[in-house]
C-alpha cells in the first residue's frame, strides 16, 4: 500500500524531505521503521515518536493508516 510519511525538525534535515510516499507491504509500524532506518542511516541517532493518521502510537502498532509522521521533540525557546 501507499504510505505518506511526514518528517519534522531534525528528522526532515536527515531525510532532506518534509514528506514522501512509500510503497510498503508489511504490517507493523516497526517494520516500516526498519525500512526507514536502512534508507536514512542517521535516523537511528534521533529520539522521535510516531503518529499514525494524526494519532500517536507505539512502534508495535499494526500499520493501518495511510499517513505516518515522525515527531522529534524540540527544546528551543
Amino acid at each position: 500500500m501507499h504510505i505518506k510519511i511526514k518528517y519534522f525538525g531534525q528528522i526532515a534535515e536527515i531525510t532532506q524531505l518534509e514528506e514522501e510516499t512509500l510503497e510498503f507491504s508489511k504490517s507493523l509500524i516497526s517494520e516500516l521503521l526498519e525500512v526507514l532506518y536502512s534508507k536514512y542511516n542517521s535516523l537511528k541517532n534521533i529520539d522521535f515518536k510516531i503518529a499514525q493518521n494524526q494519532e500517536l502510537v507505539s512502534i508495535e502498532t499494526e500499520l493501518t493508516g495511510n499517513e505516518i509522521a515522525l515527531l522529534p521533540p524540540f527544546s528551543g525557546g
Partner: protein, 367 residues
Amino acid sequence: MTRYNRHIVLSEIGQIGQDKLSNAKVLVIGAGGLGCPISQYLAAAGIGMLGIIDFDIVEISNLQRQVLFGNSSLGQNKAIAAKKRLKDLNSDITIMAYPYKLTHKNAVELFNQYDIIVDGSDNFETRYLVNDASIITNKPLVFGAIYKFEGQVAVFNYQNGPSYRCLFPNPPEKDTIPNCSEIGVLGMLPGIIGCMQANEVLKIILGIGKVLSEKILYYNALTLQTSTLKISKNEAAFATILKEKINVSKKVITTNCQHEIKEVSIHDILLKENIQIIDVRELYEQPKINNLNITQIPLSELEKNLNKIDLKKDVFLFCQSGVRSKKALSILKTLNINNCFNIKEGVSTINNILNNRSSLKKEQLKP
C-alpha cells in the same frame, strides 16, 4: 473608552470575561524568544497577576527576536528587564519578576501561587521540570517549543488530560537532538508560537474555543503547514511523577550542543589572575600539572561537584586531549553554568608550554 474595551465589546468575552482575566494568575517560564511575546500579550490582555522567571541576562544576540528588550536592557536580568517594559504597557496589573533559575527546589512552591503555567524555556531539563511540577501542583501547562523554522504548541495537564511525558516520556538520550540555547532560529517563529501560547492561556481562562489539549500542534514557518496530532494519556507516567515527586527531573540531560563552546589556548590564560583551572580527568590519570593551581573534578563526578566550581571567576577546563573537557562544558551549559571555557590543548601540550614558560621566567630573573 477603557483599556479593555476591545475585549469587553466581544459577546464571547464581555465584562465578565475581562474580570476573569483580571483575577487570573499566570506564570511564564523564561523571558526569551517565547517568553517575550507571551508575557507581552498576557500583560496587555490584563492578566491580573503575571509572574516571569528567568535567571539569564539580556545579550545582544537576544535582540534579534526578544522584543521586550533593547540596548537599554543589555546586561540586565531578563525577568527584571521584562517587568520594567511591561509595567509601562499595563500599569493596572501585578507583575512579579523572579530573577533566578527554576529548580526542583523552588518549582512546586512557585507554581502553587499561580493558576496556569506557560513554558517558554529553552532546554529539556527545564521543560521536564516544568512538566513534572505542573503535574504535582495540578496546574494546566501551556507548552511551546521551537527548532529553527518549526514550532510545537500544546496544552498539558488540562482537565485531567495528557502531559508532556505522555508524548515524550524521557528527555532525549541521543546526541543529535540539540539542547542548546545557541541554535539558530527564525526571529518571527517564537513570535508566532508565543502568541499562540498566550492565545491558549486566554481560551483556558475565558472558557471559549477549543483548548489545544490531548493534541500537539506542529507549525512550519517556511511551508505554513500545520499538523495537529492526538496524544493519549499515560496514567503510569503521572503515577510515577506523583510518587517520585520532583526528583525525576533532577537527572542531568547530557545531550550535546555543538555550537558556541567557548575555547581558548593555554597561552591566553597564563597571565590572567583570579581564574580557576579544572582538570576533568579521572583522579588516577597522569601526567599531573604541578606549576598551576588546579581543581580536580573528574567528568564522571561533575554533576555531584558543582559546588567546587567558582561561579565568580572565569573557569578553564582541560583533560587529556580536549575532548572530555568539551563534553564537561556541554553539561555545564545545560545546567546554565556559563562562566566556563575549554582549553583546546591536551595535558601534555599544556605541560610543555608551562615548562618553557618557567624556564623563560628563570632566565629573565637572572641578574
